[in-house]
Structures are given as C-alpha cells and as structure tokens.
Amino acid sequence: MSAPLLDVRNLRVHFATRAGARRSRQVVKAVEDLSFQVDRGETLGLVGESGCGKSTTGMAVQGLVRATSGEILLGDVDMATLRPGQARAARRRTQMVFQDPTSSLNARMTVGRILEEPLVVHHLVAPRERGARVRQLLEAVGMPAAAAHRYPHEFSGGQRQRIAIARALAVEPELIICDEPTAALDVSIRAQVLNLFRELQEQQGLAYLFISHDLSAIHHVSDRIMVMYLGRPMELADRETLIRRSSHPYTNALLSAVPVPDPDIEKTRQRVILSGDVPSPVNPPSGCVFRTRCPLARDRCVEEVPAWRNLDTDGPGHWVACHFAEKRAGEDLQTPGDEGAS
C-alpha cells in the first residue's frame, strides 16, 4: 500500500485560558490524542457537535494553530514542527476553505486580485500569464471570467464560496481542508457547491478533509467518516459502515438526531434522545468523555478511557473508542434512510 497523503499521529492541541470569576489558569484540551490518515484523492469527513475539536484539527493541519504534541505528516514533512523557512513551501500543499466567504475574502480587493495573490506569494505564474490563470480558476469553479473585475460584495453567498474555492485551487494543493463550507448556504445553493467539490476532486485528484456538523452532507461527500466528541475520536469507518453498522453509541445518537426530509420516516423512527448538553472541554468527564450522556454508560466508563482500536483489521478499518464496541459490532442498527423506506 502506498503511503497516505496526510498522516496525523497522536495529535494534541491544548489552549491555555483564564476563565471563571477568579481568572484562574485552565487548559482546554481542544484535541486529545487524535490519529487519522487521508489518502490521495480521498475525502475524509470530520463530524461532531460544537466543541468537538473538528475545526481545531483542521487548523492544526493547515498550521494555523500549533500542535501541542503529535505529528502531522504530509509526505515526509512534519507540519507540526515546521521551521519558518520551510513553512511557506509546505503549506502550499494544503489549503483551506472556510464557512463564511464574506469574512474570508478581502472586501477591498477585486476577485482577480484575490486570486492572483497566492500566485504572487508563491511565485507560481509569470506576471503576464496571471490573467489567464485567473480566468482558468474562475472557469473551474463555474464563474464567468468577467467576475475578475468585480468585488466580493457584488456576488451572492454561493458565488463567494466558489471564489474562495478558486483561491484555494490557485496554488494547486493536494489537500483542501473544508471547514463547514456549506453551512451558511441555502439548501439549493449548498447542493451546487457540494457538486462542485465533487467535480473538482474528479478532475484534479484532490483530497479533502471535510469538516461539518451536518452528518447528511458529510455522508454525501466522504469516503470515510470520523466522528469526534469533546476533542476525542469516537469512531472512524467508511461511509456506509459508519451509517449502517456504527458501533459507538454517540454515532447512533447523532444518526438518530439528524432530521430526515421524509414525513413517513420521521413519524415512525425510533429516536435516541440524549439528555443534557456537551460538557465543558475545560473539565471533561473522567474515563470516556461521552459517558455523561451515554445511554449505555456503566461503572467501567467512569474509570477507564476506552482504547481507540480497530474492529476490522482485515478490511478497510473500523476504529472505535467504546468499551462495548465488540459486543455491538454485529448488530445491524437502524439508519435514518432505511426505516419505513418506501
């Protein structure tokens, strides 16, 4: 097997904060012992709720936050310990697309200048050929060449996100980290942008780290999906295994909570309603971090952190962090798309 494009090993990202009335020093463990790989041309979906560490993971891979420990290997370069001299060339290999294109595009630059800037910074295209490259980038994301002379505010949210994607493509990255790229878009526009991501992947062999809270969008775009909770990985499997044979109670609860646009399914489906809210990452529960909301929690979950282990060592891999995953692995669980399906 060939080496993965991105190999993240035991990543930890901790932030020091001062919180509470006494402003006492506290450590937020935003990401705690996370390992995963992304292959060339593959999409890995990262899904979870607020505070699960999915965005921090993306930013650590891009080098926008410092890893506290662990390795972020892109080929043979460790992004976690880059020296300033190496950083520029290495970071060209990954790019990021954010949720809000209005704040990630400079309002005072024309679209043409926005797209030229990375070409200039990385010395990629001769000055006289930049115009042609900008037109090519716009065409790749389905925008007219005339857009180059206009400003971001003249475009709709979906068009702005296309421009942000074109900018990410400008440096010909191998991996694009997409952090909630469709969360701010309307349903019909979201579908257009999801289709665009897919077309670009087919044409250019891009890999994506696709971060979202929206499990149905994640399922649509991803080859494999990793579920995170409170900074820790809960489950990682290929898209169908995760949806149809999930072995973690949190994945089941997430699946059960996703509303499905079919009234017949919604009326008859069995729901796992979790109680309470996600605990604070400053003071996470002992043992399994999910235990305070887990319908299956026992004494062991309080005392012992469940091991992150592979249930499917022969196949494509099915990683879980639950003490009772082996017991549940054989069960076929209900998935939202199947119940009462017509």
Binding site: V187, H213, L215, H219, I243, P259, L274
Partner: protein, 333 residues
C-alpha cells in the same frame, strides 16, 4: 382567560392578502406578495423556504412587529377573529401578550441578561394575569420542569448566561407557554443548536398540545418531523401548500421538488451528484411579472414568464402556483 372551547373549524390565525414592501436604496423590495393562509387550533404549520423568501418577514409583518417605515404592510390578519391591523397600540399589546408567543433563533439576544430566568419567564403572565411574586416563581419552576430543564428550582434564579444554549431555548419555550397562548410562532428556533440538542427541543415541541404552532424553518428534515401542514415560499409568494405527506412525497411545484432533491440522503449508496437547482433566486427589487422561479425552472413554458400563476387546488387540500404541473412530480430519492 377564555374557558369555552374554541370552535375547531374556525382558524385561530388568518392571513389574507398580506403584502410587505421595503423601501431600499435600490428601489422597492417586494418581500411578501399577497399571501393568504390560515392556522387552525392545535395545528402545526411549517413555513419553509430559503433566505429572502419572505418567511420571517410575513410573520413579523402579520403581528405588526416590523417597524413601519421602512416596511409598508397591507392585507388583513385575524387572530382568533380579532383584526390585528384595526387595533391601537395598547389593544395590540394586550392581544399579542395574551394570545401569541414567539420563539426566535438566538435565545441569548431575546433574553434580558440582567433578569433572573424566573422573572423573565413570568413577566408576561404577571402583567396580564396579576400573579403574585411567590406564585410567579412557583409557576416559572413548574414551566421549566415541563420543558425539561434540569434542576429547575436552581435554574429559576439564574441568569441567561449561566444556561447552555439548549437550556435557554427550552426556557424560551417555557416563557412562550407561560401565558397559555393560542398561537406559538417559532422562527428557526433550533437552527443555532447542535443536532442532539435540536432533537431534544423537537421532541419537546412534538409533545405540546392545545397550541397552534407556526414553525419557520429552512430545514426540510425538521419540518418533515414536526408539521401537519407545510407552506413553501419563494420570492415572497406561497408557491405550494398542503399536508406534509403530500407536499414531501408528491410535490406539485418544480421548486418544491428541486428543494427536496437538493438534500443529501442517507439512502444514496454511491456519491451521486445532487440534483441542485441551477441559478439564484430573483432580486426582490426586480421581481419578474411572471413566475419568479421561471429562470431556474426546468419545466418552464412561454406563458410562465407572462403571468404569475395563482395558487390553485391541485389535489384535496394541496395547492400549487404553477401553470405546468397538472400531475404530481416525482421525487428522486
């Protein structure tokens, strides 16, 4: 408070020919273009559509909550038979405070940060029913218990920032229910919440009885699980209306079908393309004379650009505003 049981056939909320215009720098924005609908006692009606379709503006305007100017509102709105547009400010306050409750997306900005939860929850009922302080606190605790806030006896004395987002939204619903309203209007109340917390709130709302609900949402999944009837809005028009099963399984308007097909489904085994709707919605300051969906519609005919189709009955209680679709449209997934 009225003790006689309401006539189930008489709508609790009737909107007739509602129009909302905004004067803007680019001209007059036609935000809502003569919509009519009614809500019966105990019924849950969802209003769905994308940004700028007029779903929030129409409800705010109907309750006279849009400042005018810049908004110009026309039409007729009856709340349990009372014409809201004919009331003076004090009468309107009395009627809205007693019979209508609203829950918005952002609970933090809807709550007063310097008032304890108990006081905010019962502020309305104390004013309208003259509850004593002690009784009000007990009532607030009871309401918080009913909406599933843990440790209600402590929470009732806390401030909004001490509650989590999900708890605040529960408290908003408690506040909404405090006056035993006839109509609850909820504008994207779960959009800012995590899905597992959204599931808790939806479960709570599904359990509410004796209150008619108008639920504004862009999320078709939420609507499918909650509504009895659904109104689909586009560019300030209701373009389709019907019971939720008919509209989701047999949509008659190409826009409704397009929306449903745009949502990724867990049933897609392969990563097929989504059937996205091409193009963008029209600008509200420059709406076409004909159907506003014309430019994006795959079924368009010449007559569609000439005249806006009226909302006509297509099947039982289902109505659609389309010249072309006489037969039900198929949903892909």
């Amino acid at each position: 408070m009225t003790t006689d049981s309401p006539d189930p056939r008489r709508p609790v909320f009737e909107v007739d020919g509602l129009e909302v215009r905004f004067r803007t720098g680019e001209g007059v924005a036609r935000a809502v273009n003569g919509i009519s609908f009614s809500v019966h006692p105990g019924e849950r009606v969802a209003v769905v559509g994308e940004s700028g379709c007029g779903k929030s503006a129409s409800l705010l305007a109907a309750l006279r909550l849009l400042p005018s100017p810049p908004a110009q509102v026309a039409g007729r709105v009856l709340l349990d038979g009372t014409d809201l547009f004919a009331l003076n400010a004090r009468e309107l306050n009395d009627v809205l405070g007693r019979d209508v409750a609203m829950v918005f997306q952002d609970s933090l900005s809807s709550l007063n940060p310097v008032l304890r939860m108990g006081r905010q929850i019962t502020e309305g009922v104390r004013r309208h029913e003259g509850l004593s302080k002690k009784d009000a606190r007990a009532y607030a605790t009871e309401l918080l218990t009913r909406v599933g806030v843990p440790d209600p006896a402590q929470r009732v004395d806390q401030y909004p920032h001490q509650l989590s987002g999900g708890m605040r939204q529960r408290a908003m619903i408690a506040m909404a229910l405090a006056g035993k309203p006839k109509l609850l209007i909820a504008d994207e109340p779960t959009t800012a919440l995590d899905v597992t917390v959204q599931a808790q709130i939806l479960d709570l709302v599904r359990g509410l009885e004796d209150v008619a609900i108008v639920w504004v949402s862009h999320d078709l999944g939420v609507v499918a699980g909650l509504a009895d009837r659904v109104l689909v809005m586009y560019a300030g028009y209701i373009i389709e209306e019907g019971d939720v099963g008919s509209v989701f399984h047999r949509p008659r308007h190409p826009y409704t079908r397009g929306l449903l097909n745009s949502v990724p489904s867990f049933r897609d085994a392969d990563r097929s393309r989504l059937a996205a709707i091409p193009g963008l919605p029209p600008t509200l300051t420059d709406l076409p004379a004909g159907c506003p969906f014309y430019d994006r519609c795959e079924l368009r005919e010449p007559r569609c650009s000439a005249q806006m189709p009226p909302l006509t009955t297509v099947d039982g209680t289902q109505r659609a505003a389309c010249w072309v679709t006489a037969a039900p449209l198929e949903v892909a997934s």
